[in-house]
C-alpha cells in the first residue's frame, strides 16, 4: 500500500527531501508546542542535544526547503512516505504515513486545488471507495469574527481557538456572561481604566525593579501596561445575543460543496457581513475544484473544521472513509517562518495514515 501511494505521489510531486528517523526535537517543540512532548519519543544524545523519533514529515521537509530553496525560491512539491513514531495508549507506536508538501507556490488557489485533487486521486488509486472529503477555511472564520468588531484581543483569542469547538464555545459563553470581571489589583485597575499608560508603565516598572526582573529578556512594562488597558476594556465588553448566535450558526454550517458558495452568499446577505477577499478566494477555489474534475458530491464544506495551531492559515482538509479519518492536511503559510525562513513561504499539503487506510479497505 505504501509503495502504491508513494509511486503515485512521486508522479505529481517529484521533489525529494531526505528525512532522517532521528530528528532534532526543538523544531517540533517550538512549532507545535510543549504539548507535543507527551505524544512523541524524546531521546538525548551524550552532548545533551535533545532528539526525537520522527513524529511526522512536514516539519523536516519544510526545514529542508528553507535551508535549500536558497536564492532561487522556486516552488517545490515533495512526496514522502515512511514510518512515524507516536506515543500510543495501547498497541504499536509505529505508524506508516505518506503525503505531499507543496511549498512556495504563490498561486494559493491553484496549489490548494492541486492538493485536494492529488489527495483524492492517491486515495482512490489504492482501490478504496466512498472517500468523503471535508473542507474547512480558517480565513473565512477570521472574517466572520472580524465582522463582529470585537475588542482586538478577544477577536485574536477566538481565531486562535478555531478548530477546537469546545474552546470556541467556552469563549462565546464567557463573553455573553453579564457578571463583572475584576482582578483586585486596584491601583493598576484605576490607572488602566483612566487609560493612563505612563502611570501604568511606571507602576509596572516599579514592581519589576522590586523583583529584580530584567525588562530586556521578556515582557516589558510597556507591553504589560498595554495589555492591562486592553483587558480592562474587554472586561466591560459583552457579546450581544445576535453576535453570539451568528458565530454559532456559522460554525454549525455543514453543506455539500456544490451548494456551499450559494449558502455562504445567503448567510452573508442575511447577516449583513461581507466575506471580502477570503470569500472571493473561496468562490474561485470552489469553481477551480469543479473545473479540475473533482467529484463535488463527495466534498463537504464544514465551517468549524480547523486546527488550533498558529501556523494554519487557510483551508483544512480531512478525508474519511465510513466515518474514519484516513488523511488530513491544509494550508500553513506561517510554518516556514516559525522554522526560520525570513520570507513567507506559501505551504499546503496532506498526510495519509496508511494504517487506517489499510483498515478501511
Amino acid at each position: 500500500m505504501l509503495e502504491t501511494l508513494l509511486t503515485n505521489l512521486r508522479r505529481v510531486a517529484p521533489d525529494e527531501a531526505e528525512v532522517d528517523i532521528l530528528q532534532p526535537a526543538d523544531p517540533f517543540l517550538e512549532t507545535a508546542g510543549e504539548d507535543l512532548r507527551r505524544r512523541i519519543f524524546i531521546t538525548e544524545s551524550i552532548d545533551g542535544v535533545v532528539h526525537c523519533l520522527r513524529p511526522e514529515f512536514t516539519i523536516p521537509i519544510c526545514l529542508h526547503h528553507v535551508a535549500n530553496a536558497g536564492v532561487n525560491r522556486s516552488a517545490k512539491r515533495y512526496a514522502y512516505g515512511g514510518t512515524v513514531f507516536r506515543q500510543a495508549r495501547r498497541g504499536t507506536s509505529e505508524f506508516l504515513q505518506a503525503g505531499l508538501e507543496d511549498l512556495g507556490n504563490p498561486d494559493r488557489v491553484e496549489a490548494d486545488v492541486a492538493c485536494i485533487l492529488d489527495l483524492d486521486t492517491s486515495l482512490s488509486n489504492t482501490g478504496v471507495e466512498d472517500v468523503q472529503i471535508a473542507l474547512g477555511d480558517q480565513k473565512l472564520f477570521a472574517v466572520v469574527v472580524e465582522s463582529l468588531q470585537l475588542p482586538p484581543a478577544i477577536a485574536r483569542r477566538l481565531v486562535r481557538s478555531f478548530g477546537a469547538p469546545a474552546l470556541v464555545e467556552a469563549q462565546i459563553e464567557r463573553l455573553t456572561d453579564k457578571s463583572v470581571k475584576t482582578n483586585g489589583a486596584r491601583e493598576a485597575e484605576e490607572l488602566a481604566l483612566a487609560g493612563d499608560v505612563v502611570g501604568l508603565v511606571e507602576h509596572v516598572a516599579g514592581k519589576m525593579q522590586a523583583a529584580n526582573l530584567a525588562a530586556q529578556t521578556g515582557r516589558s512594562p510597556q507591553a504589560i501596561a498595554e495589555r492591562m488597558i486592553d483587558k480592562m476594556q474587554e472586561s466591560q465588553f459583552q457579546l450581544d445575543a445576535k453576535s453570539a448566535d451568528l458565530l454559532r450558526r456559522y460554525l454549525a454550517m455543514e453543506i455539500p460543496m456544490v451548494r456551499a458558495p450559494e449558502a455562504l452568499k445567503g448567510f452573508a446577505d442575511e447577516t449583513g457581513l461581507t466575506f471580502g477577499l477570503a470569500g472571493k478566494e473561496f468562490f474561485r477555489r470552489a469553481a477551480a475544484m469543479e473545473a479540475a474534475g473533482l467529484d463535488l458530491s463527495r466534498i463537504t464544506y464544514k465551517a468549524s473544521l480547523g486546527r488550533n495551531l498558529e501556523y494554519y492559515t487557510g483551508i483544512l482538509i480531512e478525508a474519511s472513509i465510513g466515518g474514519v479519518v484516513v488523511a488530513g492536511g491544509g494550508r500553513y503559510d506561517r510554518l516556514c517562518g516559525l522554522l526560520g525562513s525570513r520570507d513567507a513561504i506559501p505551504a499546503v499539503g496532506f498526510s495519509i495514515s496508511v494504517d487506517r487506510l489499510g483498515e478501511a479497505k
Binding site: 508546542g33 482582578n183 522590586a210
Partner: protein, 232 residues
C-alpha cells in the same frame, strides 16, 4: 510472604509517618542500626517496612515492587503515568500539605488567570523571539494542566531546585512549583494565578494495584487501613 510498606526515610515526612503508625498501634521498630533501610512493625512479622525517599516510593508504587507506600500526592501524580489506574489513594494522612501552583511575576498585573497566560503565551514568540518558558520539576502535571487550559505553545525549563528564583534569574518567565504557605512565592515577587492551583497535595497512604496481592495481604491491608484511619 510479607506485606511491604514503603515509608519516607528522612525529614518531617518520616517523623510524622512514624508518629501516625505509632498512634494507630503499629509501632515501627527503628532498631539499633539507624542506617538500616528495612525494619518491621513491633511484634509482627507479617509486615515489612522499607525506608525510601519520597520520590523513590512513588516509583516503587508504579512498578508494584512495594504493596503500599506513604508519599505526597504531587509526587505520585508526577511520577506515575495513568495514576489512578496504577495506584489507589487510600487515605489522606493530614500532613505534608502543599499545593502545586502556577505562579507568574507580581509585576504582570494583567495576568490573573490561565486564560490570561494563554493570551500572553500565544504571541510571545512573535514579540520576544522565543516561547514563554515555565520553570518546573513537575513536567507531567504542568503538561496536563496547560493542556487542559488549551495552552500548547510554551516551553518547560527543567528546574531541580529554587524554582521560585527562575524568573529573577532570567531562566524562565513563570513557574509551576510547590508551596505550603505561599510565603516563598510572595518573597520572590510572584503571585499564584486565580485558577492556578493544579493540585492540593498532602501525604497519602497509597496502594499499588499491580503489586502481588493475595487474600492474606488484602486482609492485612484492610486491617492497617482501618487502624490508621482512626488516627488521621
Amino acid at each position: 510472604m510479607k506485606l511491604v510498606i514503603a515509608i519516607p526515610s528522612k525529614g518531617r515526612l518520616k517523623d510524622q509517618t512514624l508518629k501516625l503508625f505509632s498512634d494507630a498501634g503499629l509501632e515501627i521498630e527503628e532498631g539499633a542500626d539507624t542506617r538500616s533501610y528495612q525494619t518491621r512493625i513491633l511484634g509482627r512479622d507479617d509486615v515489612e517496612i522499607a525506608f525510601l525517599s519520597a520520590s523513590e516510593i512513588a516509583r516503587e508504587l508504579a512498578s508494584g515492587t512495594v504493596h503500599m507506600g506513604v508519599t505526597g500526592e504531587d509526587l505520585a501524580r508526577e511520577t506515575i503515568h495513568d495514576t489512578d489506574n496504577v495506584v489507589e489513594f487510600d487515605l489522606k494522612l493530614g500532613f505534608g500539605q502543599a499545593d502545586v501552583v502556577v505562579a507568574v511575576p507580581d509585576a504582570w498585573i494583567d495576568v490573573d488567570s490561565m486564560a490570561d497566560l494563554d493570551d500572553v503565551a500565544s504571541d510571545y514568540r512573535a514579540r520576544y523571539g522565543r516561547r514563554l518558558r515555565i520553570a518546573t520539576k513537575y513536567w507531567r502535571l504542568t503538561q496536563n494542566w496547560f493542556g487542559q487550559h488549551g495552552i500548547g505553545v510554551y516551553r518547560i525549563v527543567e528546574s531541580l531546585g529554587a524554582t521560585e528564583g527562575a524568573p529573577a534569574a532570567g531562566s524562565a518567565d513563570a513557574i509551576v512549583d510547590i508551596t505550603s504557605t505561599g510565603s516563598t512565592i510572595r518573597a520572590n515577587n510572584l503571585k499564584v494565578l486565580d485558577d492556578g492551583v493544579i493540585l492540593n497535595s498532602q501525604a497519602n497512604l497509597i496502594t499499588a494495584r499491580q503489586a502481588s496481592w493475595n487474600e492474606a495481604r488484602q486482609a492485612l491491608r484492610a486491617e492497617i487501613l482501618s487502624k490508621l484511619s482512626t488516627c488521621c
